[in-house]
Subunit: 467 residues, 4 copies
């Protein structure tokens, strides 16, 4: 396993990465992105500290619902980069099982890619969403044929690809880009049925970073995003050569969706787990700020918090049900129930904005007007600011100020905006989650139950028809 | 175990029961209530048919989550009366355990009541909700001191009680009234801390029945409520003597809430289970009518059905989580998790009216304007009505008509109205369910998670703070 | 103007009308439908009592927003039949204006129809919704070509039509059926582009009535629907001959939608006005029952009522805005703003089920379990029932019982179900109302405002960009 | 009227204002706050350009609903500072009328303050919200008696006040602080019943500024907040002397709420007007980004935009109804209807987060991951970024990028967070708006309508009871 310092050294590999109009020569030393490097390095060191007999605890595939739960928790704690990497590795392992009969020629390559990645202890990100051009048209009918990543040339040793992948979390901070089709492909779209693993520093790879990182000189009033933030990469493949042994799908249109579906499984589980935890955090903040404001016993405040509690409980119930009804795949890996996972994600995502409104409603305008810690330290006004930010002898002005900073950072500033958007968009948008939930629901059973109740089938279940 | 016919005979015991202004002399022969008697009799016969070695399969206490699930399903299938009886018996068994140390003098009586009831194979209903008078005042400050059931006299052999219990499902069709305080009582309210088991035909007991039963000469267009309906009893205790051995609490105010809480546990589990099934039925009806209308592939219709699917799935997820996190009581009986049960009930209840709106939106106005089956049989217009109720060669006009009748009966007529109201009111109203959910939520953990995220506690969980 | 008694006599004209499988020979004497006849007759007498100089106050076209408001109020008060008739007459008057240049051959006939109807003081109903078959297919591709009303034969003096019109309020109780295409038609659908005015007693017209009327022997516990109920007609045209002078459109497909759009205007205005009044009634009931229950000062009850108040106010605001922004048509008639009318109807319809849930939540289960008035009169239990239905010395048990009956009748019984369904379905369903609102919204202005805010157009409005 | 440059000069008056821990010596030259000064100066110059005969068009009181509408539009366009000042001036004018009989001793002073302010063409801000301490306790029971602003000393020429006022928009950029009680006061709270107009540079006044201003070196990707932002002031009165002639209330507890109510009227009108415009902007952005993404004809996207359209229309309907039902005050000034204004504000505020979710759902993740304009100008990746941000030949990559920046700035970044919080908090939070709406609703009329429908009053409105 690599140390954090070893990880930092690997980034000096000539990668072409950009930030706000400038190419970044020194990632660890960059004023904004340097902190990301440090966060990833800390994740390396922490995982190493959790190793038993030198074995990376994040490696390996879960075989039981309990292992699944533990693994998800572990990589979540190890930080965004470990989580992203784990998702990529599990996606490839899952896809290998699914291609075993339909496209067996790729299975060996997939295994080799996974083996090598784990042996080198590198980080692999997921590149899925294409630029997509006009959403109402397929790849071949776009004004620009590069709207979806495609093969533009091929030779005896490999292919040349062109296109872009958007919203790629931490793309500039890993070592390899797991590049897969964003959707199912049809006959005639062979050039777009391309999957590959590509080094970040491959010639032609160019990554524009965008970030919600706070840009203030003093980030203490950003207690969350000031500590940890992960840029999104706008990954451009400007005619990048991929050697054959790193190509994981090449023209088999009917298999194009296998990778996206495999990724979806693992991404959604992490998403639902985060959502359940995140909902509890919102409840906790609401209760803490209600107590600090002297509102914890006011009826309408209690009712709002109760609604938040019920929301958090319902999202967690979906996670529990997803684990209880976990299914075992072809290769023995355990997956959460698609039905409950998707219903839970949808519920968490659709109610999120309302839960945030409740939190803001309870907390008050100081969420966006609380002084900075520097103001509290100013000799002329600091003690006065503390005095007026305090609400009772037992509620310290600085404590309450910091609580407002946390709420603002999490829900009403750059990071909060990023969360609100990605909350809706992760996993394909609300529309996609509705579709997927419905697909996995037992509609025939529901129809039969309805017909029974309506007296339109013989043999009801007993004296009662079940309503 | 009694047969259905034996059950019918037991009703001829002099009970004072009323319907729309008239005393009912002959329950089995009553034009509206007679069908209820038949439904209960059928439930007796069905349960007997499920017996193994003559043992009532509905008797006994569940010891594992799986037994719990099976028992709930069994009594649900056996019909409302069996379900009501099971809930009463389990309430008494649960209360016995809880009073073992605080009021041990009642334990023997409770056991005896349960033993006798099971030996006689009788049906016991739950009498909990008082008339309550002005809801903002306690029992002792009411204009009418009888607003809550109370002891008005006592002698060497027993007590005399007065008051009323409202909304008592099937009260006139069982044998005993399990009468318990509707809420916690305080010092000074000793007369109201009274629990007892009272025969339906005890002198002074008078029950007014109300019913959503269809009153049309031909009930075929009420495919559900025309088959099965259970009146609510307005139970009046007009100075009823209760012998000491049937008194289960008498003045111990601090124990007054034990019965209500015990009942709540078992009532909510049945409620959540019914709600999960009921949500599936609504989905099934929506899908069937969308197919019959030729709308099943229309975008906005699919989206509404998907929302209904997600709702049904979320309610069921709560049931699953409630069973997975089931707890074992003092006497070994297994109870569902209060947290998930209440969150599920609340979610099911609050969204119900919206789900019904979706169903009506998809189905169309024919829900309330479809002809009767008699119209379809009329020689002058029957074939024309069938013709125009058909939508395609493969959708029979009568089938579609009956589908509309089922939707109307279930959601847009007397029974539908009863369901809509009781859906909200069962288990104490939405407000109570919010309170109970919150009470069982781990608020300390949520506050700790929030403080961790805010950087206000030392020792975060690893490199990531968990957002 | 006709008297009520004269009206009754007109019904004895051989019309073929059916109820629950039987042909109705004597409408005024029918046990269920007789009351409808009486209600219509009362409306005739009331309108006559409002006449000035013998002129029907319901006749004539509004020329100002204030006249519009008064007219709507007048016909609403005069009862459903007067309202239906007014809507038909205004629809024909509006259509005449719109066809003046595109199909002038019908203008004279339209005028004649209106003149005659007003001179005879008859009642005309609107027949718009066809059977429609498979909703995903046009008329010509249905398995049954009669799924939409069409011309099946024609001769020198007129046409023969076949088909059915569904959900036709009060169809059996008027004198003429204003039959119009349910939607726009396309080339090839000429046979379906047929509009006509047809006597109810024309040979081949057959009407099946369905009704939410209470069927109990004592309807006192149905204080609303027991007083007034209007059946829906399932109107069948079983090859009905229509003389040329009563044909108002015949094959002009591009004009087929003119009638539906004209009807829509007048129907929606009445609908929105009723909705605003209806929302106030729900608020009033909620407040009355909260007071009767002693809940009027409880926080969560007040909050629910406040939400109902805001809903009622917002719906009324849409009505006010619709009148303020009324437009004047070609012939000088004043119409409400389509934009505000539709937005208001949609808002009223989508929130209705939630408002009903609030009312049920506040009122309690007695909505569906309150005793009947006959119970209150029973010598054995009547005084006891009154006693326990009372909540305070100043809240009479019978008053409170009747309040529950009103709530049940209006929202949780047959009539309530009819209201819930028609609330969503009137005016074409929620989907249609969304489409229409959007169509009338000034999207270009909104886009320009957005571009201005985004800094993407020159010349902002001043120092501030308007956010 | 002052010029922008003259305004700038007035700020050099020794005021004690702070930003992120530092005292600001030179407001016009400050890197963050300097832009605010320029925005205010531009507003001065623009208003001067609108003057007729040298008369400030923002002065004067509206006498008709149309004047009201024009005035609101004018000060809205003139920028935040003009709007704030207008609101203060109108508040004082309104209060003068209301105190004319109850506290006439202040009327002359109020008039003088208004006259002087208009003559000097200064800007006056509203200081209302106190620190408030524990929200469940009144001023006199707080741990810190200064939790609400109070008089701590008094002499022959004036009083000395202490306390803080929070969330005071633009406090550091005006000339006077209109300081008024935040709520009604009771006997015993005389020291807290203090209103006064205080110069920003009075000794003891200290203002901490907080700001959502973007802090990036290149603010082009903040097209709104990079152009205009207004800090909130945390205004501390550290024992500030106020001469008697500037004291506008001093101990008259029963009049304490007059100022807050007067302010509320004018603040809410501006708020509702902004909300109506803001809702249109959200619709416009949703439509523009749907078109740019090729989604404008996709069913579920159209439905979401239709919902946004209906929301915008309903909010505007409330504004229209508020103006139509405007009332005229004692001194002839026209005020909007409280009922419709509050219902509209509540509706706009409660649905805002959902509307934002719809916008994010339609726009996609590029809201938070679009490259900066500097990225688009970079010679190595700029043309590639434009290429992939374009979706069709007719959708320019830069245009689409800037659209995403506008959406992010407005809804998903610092400014967006500020909007989300203040949207809920302005005018006292959602709870307060519910209360106020209910207070102005005609509940007696609603109860009478309900009783009529229920058959519980004599003399219904005609044949129909109005449901």
């Amino acid at each position: 396993m690599l140390t954090g310092e070893q990880y930092k050294a690997t980034l000096d590999d000539g990668r072409a990465t950009y930030f706000e109009g400038e190419r970044v020569k020194d990632l660890p030393g960059h004023p904004v992105l340097g902190q990301v490097v440090q966060n990833v390095a800390d994740g390396y060191d922490w995982l190493a500290s959790q190793a038993v007999d030198g074995v990376n605890p994040a490696a390996g595939v879960p075989r039981t619902p309990e292992e699944l739960r533990e693994k998800v928790e572990l990589v979540h704690t190890a930080g965004m980069m470990a989580h992203v990497n784990y998702t990529s590795i599990m996606t490839l392992a899952t896809a290998a099982g699914r291609l075993a009969t339909t496209a067996p020629q790729y299975v060996e390559r997939l295994d080799e890619v996974v083996r090598t990645a784990q042996a080198r202890d590198i980080r692999m990100t997921q590149c899925i969403t294409d630029a997509k051009g006009d959403r109402s048209l397929p790849p071949t009918r776009q004004d620009d044929p590069d709207a979806y990543v495609r093969v533009v040339d091929r030779g005896p040793d490999g292919v040349v690809i062109r296109g872009a992948k958007l919203h790629i979390t931490a793309a500039s901070f890993g070592h390899e880009l797991m590049t897969i089709p964003t959707k199912a492909m049809k006959p005639g779209e062979e050039a777009y049925a391309i999957a590959a693993v590509i080094p970040v520093n491959a010639p032609g790879v160019k990554i524009i970073n965008t970030s919600y990182a706070p840009r203030h000189p003093d980030v203490r009033h950003f207690p969350i995003s000031g500590q940890e933030h992960f840029p999104e990469g706008f990954v451009i493949f400007d005619d990048v050569f991929v050697p054959t042994e790193r190509v994981l799908l090449d023209g088999e249109t009917e298999q194009a969706a296998v990778f996206a579906h495999s990724l979806g499984l693992w991404e959604r589980l992490g998403g639902l787990s985060s959502m359940a935890d995140g909902a509890d955090v919102l409840v906790g903040l609401a209760q803490l700020v209600a107590e600090a404001n002297g509102l914890a016993r006011i009826g309408h405040v209690k009712e709002k918090i109760s609604e938040m509690v019920i929301h958090a409980t319902v999202v967690r119930a979906c996670l529990e049900a997803a684990l209880v009804h976990a299914e075992t795949g072809a290769l023995g890996a355990v997956f959460p129930s698609e039905l409950y996972t998707n219903a839970g994600k949808y519920t968490g995502a659709t109610a999120y904005n309302l839960m945030v409104r409740h939190l803001h409603d309870i907390a008050g305008a100081a969420v966006v007007t609380a002084p900075t810690l520097a103001d509290l330290e100013n000799p002329e006004v600091g003690s006065l600011a503390r005095k007026y930010m305090s609400t009772r002898a037992d509620v310290d002005g600085e404590y309450r100020t910091r609580l407002f900073h946390a709420i603002r950072d999490l829900t009403a500033d750059s990071f909060g905006g990023w969360r609100q958007v990605t909350n809706v968009q992760a996993g394909g948008g609300l529309y996609a989650q509705r579709i997927v939930t419905r697909k996995h629901y037992d509609m025939d059973a529901a129809k039969h139950a309805a017909l029974t109740v309506a007296g339109l089938v013989e043999g009801a279940r007993g004296p009662s028809r079940g309503v």
